[in-house]
Subunit: 506 residues, 2 copies
């Protein structure tokens, strides 16, 4: 069998895996939106079965043999050099997924699933009682299983390499560490300067904002951003998310807070940023495993670029504030553009990651990255985690958690066995700012277009430069191609300085 | 391997097939309710893949070997006589599904799918232009493929036996023919007598009935009938349907007509009747292939019993009319119970099946059964179908279709290759009336309970006598057990006479 023939057959097999992935995504979307509550247990059986069918197909001897016939291996995931670039990119992505699935023994996978189910239950209890000791034994178990997982997958440098690769393929712990090191000091300095300045008052954002009107405003936002309602939909769920159910079916959900208008607006912009990425892949890769975000960091760059860099900009609200005020005339009476703009950008060091502003957010991630790498390398014991958490919080934010619930127990990730996920949030901030800088150079008078509500120029640029590639390029390759250089925190810092120095009179 | 061991393993395999069936049902539910329109083509790929996985599992050599090990065969589908009754019922149902799937060659199945896709498109065109000739060649092809299908499946008497078995298992053409023969004359006589009586005026049902209020009334109906919102949901779709997505997830859809209040109300009661059946299986069979309606005729007996025998009864509206009038005070101003009751029961011979009342409805089915049995036995040529249709319509209803669109082209079924489906609608009317007669004997003062809105006694009886069994009993076994005798048109005729003679002063 020639490498070309092997690739052709692999693409057929991959196509079916994609269809099953999307069927599975529908099961999970429905669970979060419309499923009757009594069906929850059986739904997890349905999902587990589909996942096991997908696993069996990915790790089948046929796929292994075809990868070999195409010349793809751990050492050379792109296969034969004679193959077209696009086939090589396909092989690299498939080889990676095949390898990861094949290397994890089935019983370790089910042990992890079981431990995570118990972990989440205990975490919920522990958080409710703000008592880390309730959760500690199960967390220790999850860390142990995670270390075994890393060993099965294999790594050259740090065991965390095998974990971060799940979410941020081809990226190493050392790379992230070096980038975060450059970030920490400079963010810390900025936060300190802002902390010394006068606080912004955003009290008017807390009022009675009826949810149906928030939903109507969301539709306006989605339309403006270029999200096609024939290729997706907006529903409500307890936690906002984006999910891909097909080439032309990428759905988002929102959660509205009827007493605080910021929550809904910015989560909708954020999720739409994710969705537009998933809807923008080139015709050549649509429907294949390359039709996906190339890493969670790049995915997050799209959501955060839209949410923060565009969605919290002054020109954006120059266009949208009058529309929002039409829906909420009494609530926003007398609120000037300047006041609104400052309110949605208020910076405030806080204990809780998911409530953090865009300046302090990445510091929350640095904290978690620091602790989880030490947990999986054995340098930090679970027992010592709360103390380490609190000490680092004090260092980074100058405040001390008043409880485990507002500290080490605030996030669900570790209880689910998700180690290696956190850094992607901060990487998203950095990639987003670096891409935005390139976009600003490429589009003359970008702010003028935004102020006219002409967001289409942004989508066009993102689509052309970033979305079309999907996972054909790695995050590093994409960054190099779009911005001419590797990932650097400089762009993010420059963006923040430029935005917040005038706002806070620094 | 002992028969018991074989049954145990078959139940495990069946459980996974059920989970896949339900995942597939979700794909189809979503397609009709919330799916973005551009995703239609890929959705059919997803459905086709899941169906092929289900087919492969049902027809796998392992299933065949296990059925043999359990002693189940075409001649003896219930397996070893030493097995528990419940295992024998399970084997009978599985053996039947396995046999039907295994006997159809894959290329005939895909030819039928293709022919049906083209068939539906041509049928739509032909119906729009009211030109049978446009559809005839494709219909001929569909009939030919259907005859081949019947030959593959095999039959003893009439080729139609192999077809009706898909929808009404273990029922033969001869049985249906004999029942319908008894029905035709007696229905015809009743229709003629009603036709000679004064017509009922139902003009007030056509007015402005806002859809949101109709939906609110539907919730009241569902609550009254005992449909648990934690185990299902009500959405809207172009054609109302019921679908089962799990043991505790049976959903219905409605279509409301804002200018005609009857459409929505009775379709909701009808679909809820189906759903309550699917939600009522005993603990012992829940989640297995026995947890399904035992035939479409029995399924239809549940929907029609609720819709017509309960939902169009005078005591029912004694309770519900005041509630409806609260929602539509101006539209129903001055409408008495008597007037409302008569209006929703108006009998009128008409050309269109789906608009027919409960008296004339079964005549539409007799017409179709008559023609489709002759088509598949070769006694009637497709070319002669319109003439045969018109002649029989004249005989049965005393009116002649003014166009093919209002005649031979009105139903989608044949264009989809569905031959053998139609009789189940009329069988449902008959089973429903026969069951209702038994229920009326068992529940003292049933009408009093209905008039108080206490519909729970009905659900309890149906659940205990009918629903719990699922497909453990065949339709014939169930009928015998519940009513003490085989299916007979007498009960339906008696029900109609008792209801319509006083209404029309016959």
């Amino acid at each position: 069998m020639t490498p070309e023939m092997a690739v052709r057959r692999l693409k057929e097999l991959d196509r079916e895996i994609q269809l099953l992935d999307h069927a599975n995504a529908l099961l999970m979307w429905d669970e979060e939106t419309y499923m009757p509550e009594r069906s929850i247990e059986e739904r997890s059986e349905q999902v587990a079965l589909l996942q096991s069918i997908i696993h069996d197909r990915l790790t089948s001897p046929e796929v292994g043999d075809l990868l070999t016939a195409a010349g793809a291996s751990d050492a050379n995931p792109r296969g034969e050099a004679s193959l077209p670039q696009e086939s090589q990119a396909f092989l690299r992505a498939l080889q990676r997924r095949h390898r990861r699935e094949a290397k994890l023994p089935a019983e370790l996978v089910s042990e992890l699933v079981r431990a995570a189910t118990i972990g989440q239950a205990l975490w919920r209890q522990a958080r409710a009682k703000s008592d880390f000791a309730l959760f500690a034994p199960q967390l220790r178990k999850l860390v142990e299983l995670t270390i075994r997982k890393a060993q099965c997958i294999g790594f050259v440098g740090h065991p965390y390499d095998a974990l971060i690769d799940e979410f941020e393929p081809w990226t190493t712990t050392a790379e992230v560490r070096s980038i975060f090191a450059g970030l920490e000091n400079r963010l810390g300095g900025l936060v300190a300067r802002i902390g010394a300045a006068e606080r912004i008052d955003d009290g008017f954002l807390s009022a009675d904002f009826p949810v149906d009107k928030q939903a109507a405003f969301s539709k306006l936002l989605l339309e403006g951003m270029g999200y096609d309602p024939k290729r997706g939909r907006l529903d409500e769920s307890a936690h906002p998310f984006t999910t891909t159910l097909g080439r032309d079916d990428v759905r988002i959900t929102a959660r509205y807070n009827s007493r605080y208008v910021k929550t809904g607006i910015f989560s909708v912009i954020h999720e739409a940023g994710h969705a537009l990425y998933e809807l923008g892949f080139s015709e050549a890769i649509r429907g294949s495993l390359l039709a996906t975000g190339t890493s969670l960091g790049i995915h997050e760059s799209q959501s955060r670029l839209w949410e923060n860099i565009i969605g919290r900009s002054e020109p954006f609200w120059r266009h949208y504030l009058p529309l929002l005020a039409e829906l909420f005339p009494s609530q926003l009476k007398g609120v000037s553009l300047e006041r609104f703009y400052r309110a949605v950008n208020r910076v405030e060091p806080s204990l809780i990651r998911i409530e953090a502003d865009e300046v302090t957010y990445s510091l929350h991630i640095i904290l978690r990255f620091d602790l989880e790498t030490r947990l999986v390398s054995g340098q930090l014991d679970v027992e010592d985690l709360p103390e380490a958490w609190n000490r680092r919080t004090q260092e980074l934010f100058g405040i001390l958690p008043d409880s485990d619930a507002a500290g080490v127990l605030q996030d669900i990730h570790w209880s689910m066995g998700s180690f290696g996920y956190f850094p992607t949030y901060a990487l998203g901030n950095l990639y987003g700012a670096q891409f935005a800088a390139a976009m600003r150079e490429a589009i003359p008078n970008l702010d003028g277009a935004i102020a006219r509500g002409d967001l289409r120029v942004i989508l066009d640029w993102l689509r052309r430069e970033i979305h079309v590639h999907g996972a054909s390029l790695t995050a590093a390759e994409l960054c190099k191609r779009v911005t001419g250089q590797g990932l650097s925190p400089d762009f993010f810092i420059a963006y923040l300085e430029q935005k917040y120095a005038p706002m806070y009179g620094l």
